[in-house]
């Protein structure tokens, strides 16, 4: 953002919105919007409490496990789909259905199948993240230069070498892009899962705060979650830029 001809640091526009929030909060228009300063005071108190830390712990656990599965399964499946016509024809319709499906509607079914606990949330998280990771990895290998593939073959690359030394790297910019979007979706997945199961992690906290109209706590937790999701996404964006130097030169 530019102001009086000077470049302001990134995201300084947030300060304007924070100020606006503060003003609205102080006008006491609605219980729903307490002043942001009060929210932050609550936030700093809150993050030291055990319920919050437990919620953060279970959420992080489910999140990383879910994302881990999505990455470890999604990338190889995507690469294999991009490389084998047969697998592609077999799986692509399903991937396309799931990527656009309202997965939230599936969570109750998962709850019946896997119980009202972490297992369901991990699976929800994976389901939110995996499809875009698969599609991007697939697109990544499909754009690999034909001569790159022939180079591997002509120098006698074993299938494993070709996979780990050529295809994976050649598709890395797309793969990372997919992982970044997948992780953003996984944040949604883990929270939606917890909200629907509603006795685990932040889901339980949200349930508690909103049903008791504890708006400061509600906003504090929300800000923490938004902040975390944003930080993760920025970090992955940074990784993506680090490999972009060769993305155009492949």
């Amino acid at each position: 953002m530019m102001l009086f001809g000077r470049k302001l640091p990134a995201m300084s526009s947030l300060l304007v919105w924070a100020a606006l929030w503060e003003v609205v909060g102080r006008m006491d228009l609605t219980f729903f919007v307490p002043p942001i300063s009060a929210v932050f005071v609550t936030l700093f108190g809150l993050i030291q409490t055990t319920p919050f830390q437990n919620a953060l712990g279970t959420t992080a656990y489910a999140f990383f496990l879910g994302v881990g599965f999505a990455i470890v399964i999604g990338i190889p499946v995507g690469i294999l789909m991009g490389k084998t016509r047969f697998l592609d024809e077999l799986l692509l319709p399903w991937v396309n259905i799931f990527i656009s499906a309202p997965l939230t509607a599936l969570v109750p079914v998962l709850m019946v199948l896997f119980g009202f606990g972490t297992k369901t949330i991990v699976i929800t998280t994976t389901l939110f993240a995996i499809w875009i990771i698969i599609l991007n990895a697939r697109a990544g290998v499909m754009q690999i230069n034909r001569s790159m593939v022939e180079m591997g073959r002509s120098f006698g690359a074993s299938p494993l070498d070709a996979f780990f030394k050529i295809y994976l790297w050649a598709a890395l910019p797309e793969i990372l892009g997919g992982v970044r979007i997948g992780i953003i979706r996984a944040v949604k997945g883990v929270i939606i899962g917890q909200l629907l199961v509603s006795i685990v992690g932040f889901g339980a906290l949200f349930e508690l705060y909103s049903s008791n109209f504890l708006m400061k706590e509600f906003w504090a937790v929300l800000i923490v979650l938004f902040g975390l999701a944003f930080t993760i996404s920025e970090f992955l964006g940074y990784l993506e830029r680090k490999v972009s130097f060769y993305a155009s030169a492949r």
Partner: protein
């Protein structure tokens, strides 16, 4: 200048030692017939150019020899062994270089050896040697995107030389580099052929380039694809790189090839 009809080639040069023999090879892409019953011998230690109009099957033939494409009929022998796929006796230099953009020059040059399981220190020592040989000393730690097109192709060439294959296959290796670099490349290529004692198979669009660098030029014509002529320049090879382009035989061959190709150029 000696000119040999391909049909009588075997009788005319019975003692010829071939590194690569192409026998009655045909290749169909669906109903497109790219090669039809093509036979050609590649003498050991020499550079043979494949020259011909666009679409006559030069790349197809080169990739079949490399084992990257299966032929529809006929067979290829390298050193008397029938080709069934890629092998360590052949190395390919790609028109678009095919370098790993995430790896530096050293790793790229050593990559062929890496795929063959050669230990790191050993393959890097070999790579260093060929990096010097192609004139890229000092650029070992640079990445492909930091190099010019000509330098990238030197990396591709060094990679192919490092694996010490008997046969080098080059598909229009200089078409993506500028004219001055190209001339330097051609001179360097002559030196390589002389020093490396390898068999080079070289695809080019440029008549001058083919005549300048080749011991033998095979002229391919399309519809149906066949070897129409084999030309072996004789007199100017030993006269030094600076005199070739002024040599009367050089100029005659260039003219003659153009005369036989011009009717195929729309």
């Amino acid at each position: 200048m000696s000119q040999i009809n391909p049909a009588t080639l075997a009788d005319a040069r019975p003692a010829l030692d071939s590194a690569v023999s192409v026998r009655n090879v045909s290749k169909n892409y669906g109903d497109v017939q790219a090669l039809k019953n093509l036979s050609l011998e590649f003498p050991r230690g020499e550079l043979t150019s494949l020259l011909g109009p666009s679409g006559c099957g030069k790349t197809t033939l080169l990739k079949i020899i490399a084992g990257l494409l299966p032929q529809s009929a006929g067979q290829i022998e390298v050193d008397g062994k029938t080709v069934t796929g890629p092998g360590p006796d052949r190395a390919f230099v790609f028109q678009d270089f095919a370098l790993l953009p995430w790896a530096n020059v050293l790793r790229n040059v050593a990559f062929g050896l890496e795929l063959r399981g050669v230990a790191k220190s050993e393959r890097e020592a070999i790579a260093e040697k060929y990096i010097r040989e192609v004139g890229l000393a000092g650029f070992e730690k640079k990445f492909p995107h930091q190099l010019s097109g000509g330098m990238r192709q030197r990396v591709g060439l060094a990679r192919a030389l490092s694996v010490d294959a008997q046969v080098l296959l080059l598909d229009e290796p200089f078409s993506a580099v500028d004219e001055q670099t190209r001339r330097k490349f051609q001179e360097d290529l002559l030196a390589l052929v002389a020093n490396e004692k390898k068999t080079f198979i070289f695809v080019t669009h440029s008549i001058e380039e083919a005549v300048y660098v080749s011991d033998q030029i095979a002229i391919l014509l399309p519809r149906p694809s066949r070897v129409s002529e084999i030309i072996r320049p004789t007199s100017f090879r030993g006269k030094g790189v600076d005199n070739i382009r002024r040599d009367p035989e050089y100029l005659d061959i260039v003219d003659e090839i153009w005369a036989s190709l011009r009717s195929y150029v729309e």
